[in-house]
Structure formats: structure tokens, C-alpha cells
Symmetry: C2
Subunit: 344 residues, 2 copies
Amino acid sequence: MDNDKEITIWDIAKKLNISIATVSRALKDDPVVQKKTKKKILETALEMGYRSNNFARNLRSKNSNTIGIIVPRLNSYFMSSVISGVEKIANAEGYNLIISQSSESVEHEKQNALTMFNNRVDGLLVSLSYETESIEHFEPFFKKNIPLIFFDRITENKNAISIVIDNLKAGFEITEHLINQGCKRIMHVTASLKRNVYQERLQGYKKALEYHHLPFHENFVKIINLSFESGEQVAQDILKMKKLPDAIFFSNDNCAVGCMSVLKKGGINIPETIAVAGFNNDPLCRVVEPNLTSMHYSGMDMGILSARNLINHIKGESTLSVTNSIVLRSELIIRESSLRLPNS
Amino acid sequence: MDNDKEITIWDIAKKLNISIATVSRALKDDPVVQKKTKKKILETALEMGYRSNNFARNLRSKNSNTIGIIVPRLNSYFMSSVISGVEKIANAEGYNLIISQSSESVEHEKQNALTMFNNRVDGLLVSLSYETESIEHFEPFFKKNIPLIFFDRITENKNAISIVIDNLKAGFEITEHLINQGCKRIMHVTASLKRNVYQERLQGYKKALEYHHLPFHENFVKIINLSFESGEQVAQDILKMKKLPDAIFFSNDNCAVGCMSVLKKGGINIPETIAVAGFNNDPLCRVVEPNLTSMHYSGMDMGILSARNLINHIKGESTLSVTNSIVLRSELIIRESSLRLPNS
DNA sequence: TTGTATGCGTTATCAG
DNA sequence: CTGATAACGCATACAA
């Protein structure tokens, strides 16, 4: 079965009585080779079932035609969308894609980065884990000038481009919206402040409170892992409070939904007693009752943009050595979970 | 910056005044080389910042240490779980993972398969698209004896292992459950019958009807793409029917949820007027109201099992040349959406 | 426009 | 136990 040897440019050269150089050139559509011979070569290549050997090619050309992406988790609608976007562009540009997840652990992230490096990806896309503080595990990429783009969960770095939304503004908008609905005791439930996205949303939250002359209470900010289950836990805690908050701004939808379900079971009316807002505009928002107010931004767009930029960099076609960060649009989607005033 | 040349076994051999052969052996922990020299080699390798060149290695050894996975879509909880499982095993075993999605299109699937083939994956995991009929685009893998495993959405093939659940039984169970709840006019909403999973669930549905002496109506089976939106559309259609069904069995949760939302807006009581059941036990089931009855099976387990089997095959360690298919456990999770009788 | 010759970094097969 | 050397398949500098 397996004795049909892999056929190489040698075989097709021999068959056609020409040199491997010509074959090699024809195969990569080098305009220098005659049309007639090129055609013949392509035909026999097909006919003999030739397939190029990427290893040999890469060994020679020293690039892998592969880009890598490291994400915290795959299992969110947002991340799936990002991946879809990246995949679309990568495919169109003839790049392979290697995906790995850090599962929110630095150790995994380090391991993943190393693997990517050893596999000699031509470029790397990264969204950081909760835990990550230092990014020295990406140092090898900087040293070798391998393009690296951080998206969504980024870190400030002069060597890498960042692709983000304006989280501060987003946090501000959500909080202000809740304030406009008459809420005065607004909790904020978010994740590790090591990550820009959570840090900045918190800043936005604070800014909005300040702007509207509302007091900031340290204990109104909860740092959790934003899972559905942790949302349920938050609800349990809230139900025990002597004086309830009148609104909660979550940094992700999944967690908000977990919380809502327990609150509802606990007899809390949403939004009348407690208004709720999430983040990411997961499809879940339209399923939970009441429908969840959330901040929308397109994972697909972020993926497309990240990939396109990365590839431009790889090809050296980019003028973006000056660019340092790209900010995507985000949009507040108001739904029933936060609507206390009918006409707003 | 980039002028720190990649260092090779030559460099470290030169530095230590030994041959590259010894270095190569030491690096792969060949017991034949002396402990002392091995230690020295490992040390200087580390110190000089050596990293092995996979291209050269693969070129020589003719295997890529990479496994591929082609899935219809990434954006479901189930698929994310599968990928997580696969990734876990692949990582542990030192394999790289290349992921691509067919987006339910044969053309994409063909393209993906070709890419995987050209990248010389050591093995391939596939869950087929809606459209796929022939699997001749996987022929190259069979010809070359590259291990190929179909999971979940499979096709009968003597060359490949299949990893599935018993969809017929599952379909039967769900339908019977609905019947036991007193439902007599049960619709079934599913996707392309080219796919085993949908074909067999339909068979299970029919069997259950037959077993319980209920008539089967052709027009009670809807073939759609199972998206949220198509679920909404189904609901529209149902609301227009002169005589409503009293239950609907969906082949996926997302679609069921889309349908439920429209039905509820249309004033239908669930489960009193129409009972609903889904499939996959997506986290969504616990969010929608009423909570959705569904068939649970573990994507994570399926991923782990698939990857483990594939790798066993790659390594030739498997006794599974006799095995042809592996069936995973599935379990009916009954929730309010289908519960008409309190005590059941 | 085409051919020759060489190197890319490893591993494996021989001899020592 | 170690060393020399031949592949692996391709791309390219240089020559023709």
C-alpha cells in the first residue's frame, strides 16, 4: 500500500528530461521559465501526483508559512469568532494556522509560546491569560523580530502591536447607562486586574461614578474568574447583603447570566430591583430573561484585523512599524436587563 | 537584531570538539552516548541557546509530529470541548495540532483536507460537514495509510475508525420521553440526513413512534441548518399551523432555543402546550426558560478518546486495526421544557 | 531561458 | 562508545 514512493521534483525532471531547477521554478510559477515547458511540467506534476515537501522548502527558505495563535480559552462565542476571522484571512493568504489555549495559566502560556517558537511560526497572535504578568516568555520572538500582535487582552509593549477596543470608554458607557437608569449602588464584577481589559473597564466604571458624583466603594468591586459558576456564587453573596446593590456591571455575559439565574430564584426582580449589564454581547444575551444589556464588539473583525496586520508585517509590506495599537469600535446594546425607564 | 545566527548541532559540536553525530544522539537522549559527554552537550546546548530545527528533523524522519483536525464549526460549546480534549492529549504526547473548519461546506472541507495532506500531518481527526457525501477527498490519507478518525459526524468506512454516540438510541429515548409525557404530535427538527447523526436520530424518532403506535407524518420532520435563526423561522411556521404539534424534538440546543423564544412570544406555553427537547446539553439549556431537556454527551471525552486513539495508531501501538467504531455514552437530561407530568 | 552545484540542519548507516 | 558521511527534497547563485 505504502510503497508508492513520494514523488519529487527529481522524478518529474527525469521524466521530462529537464533539470530540477527548471521544475522547481515552474512549480512556483517563476515567470522566467517558458510557458510551454511550464505547462508540461505542471501537467506531469499533477499526473504523477506530486506534492511539494514543505519541510524541504521551509528548511531552505527558513520560513514556515505558519502563524500561531494563543488564546486563553476556546469556548466562548467571542473567541470562536476571533478564530474564524483569523482562519479566514490565513487561509486566503496561504498561511497555516496553529491554535493553542493557555487555559488562563501562565505556565501553559509559556509552554505554548515555546512550542510556537520551536515550530518557527512566521508570526504570532496572542491574547493573554488572567495570570500573566511578565511577558518575557515572548522575548525570543522580539529578539528574532518575529512579528507578534496582542489582541484584546494585551500588555503595553513597544515591540508589539496591540488590537483592542477602548475598554475604559466601554466601562464608562455601561456604568453611565446604569446611572442614567437611576442606579446609585452599582457593583462591578470583573476578573484579574493584571489584564488591561479588566483594569480599564474598572477605570471607566470609577470615572463614571466620579463624573456623576457617586461614591466609589472598594467592596463593590468583585474580582472573580467570570465563569458561570462564579456568577452564581456572586449572586449568593449578594443575596446575603444587608443592603442590596441596585445594579451590577459584569465584565462578561456568561458570568452575568449565572448570577441572574440565582438572583431570580432568590426573588430579585431584574431590572427593577437590580439592573444587570454584561460584556461581549454573547448570543446568550438574547436568550436569558430578561435579555441582557451588553457591550458589543466583533470577534470576527478583531480576528480579521489581527491576522491581516500580522501577515502584512510578516511580508514586510506594512507601514505599521509606526503603528502601535489599533482600536476597534464597540457598541452598547441596551436590553431589558437594565431598562428601568421606559423612554430612554 | 536578527544577526544572531540560528545555532545548530554543528556549532555545538565544534565548540566541544566532537562530532555532530554524538551531539545529535545526546540531544535525543540516546543511551548509547556517555553520560558525561551527554551532560556537557546538553549544558552547552542550553547555554548557546540551541533549538532544534523541526524542518530538518521532519525532512529526515518523514513525519511531522503534527495532527490535524477538521470540524464543521468551532463556535459551539460541544466543539470547543472536543478541541480542548484533543489539545490536552496532543500536547501531552508532544504533538502539534492544526485546526481548521469546513464551515459546513464540502468545498472547504476538501481544501482543508488537501492542506492537511500537504502539511503531512501524521494523523487526522474529522467531523464531516452537512454537505459531504463522498469522502474521496480523504482517499490520499487512506492510500498512504495515514491514520484517520471520524468522530461524531461520521461515514461508514472500513479504513477509518469512528467515534460516536448511539444516535439511534438517543433519538429513541428523547422521543419516548416525550411520548411518556403524553405527547402525541411530535415534530422532529434536524439537519441534513446525509449525516449519520441526523439520519440515525430520525430513525430513533420513527422507531419510538412506531413502538408506541403513533403515526409518522412526513411533514412533521423539518430539515434545516439548526442555527438559532432557523429555529426562529421554524417557530414562525409552527405558529401558522392549523393544528399545533404538542412536542418538538430538536437535533441541537441552539436551534431549539431560537424556536422557543419565538413560540413564547407567540403565546405558546412550554411545556404545557408544546414540549421541547434539544440535543447536546449546551450550557444554554440551563439558561433558557423553561430549562431545556437535552441529550448529554461529553465533547471533552470524545476529543480525548479520538486523540488518544489517533496517536496510538500513529505510533503503531494500537491493537485497534480490528476496531472499527467506538461508542460513547450519552444521557438524557430531563428539564422543565418537556416535563408535563410532575411525578416522572 | 535552462542547467549545475551547493547548502539548509538532521538523522541514520556504516566503520572504526 | 564515537566519527565520517550520505541522504532527505528543495531553492538559488552562478554559469552557460
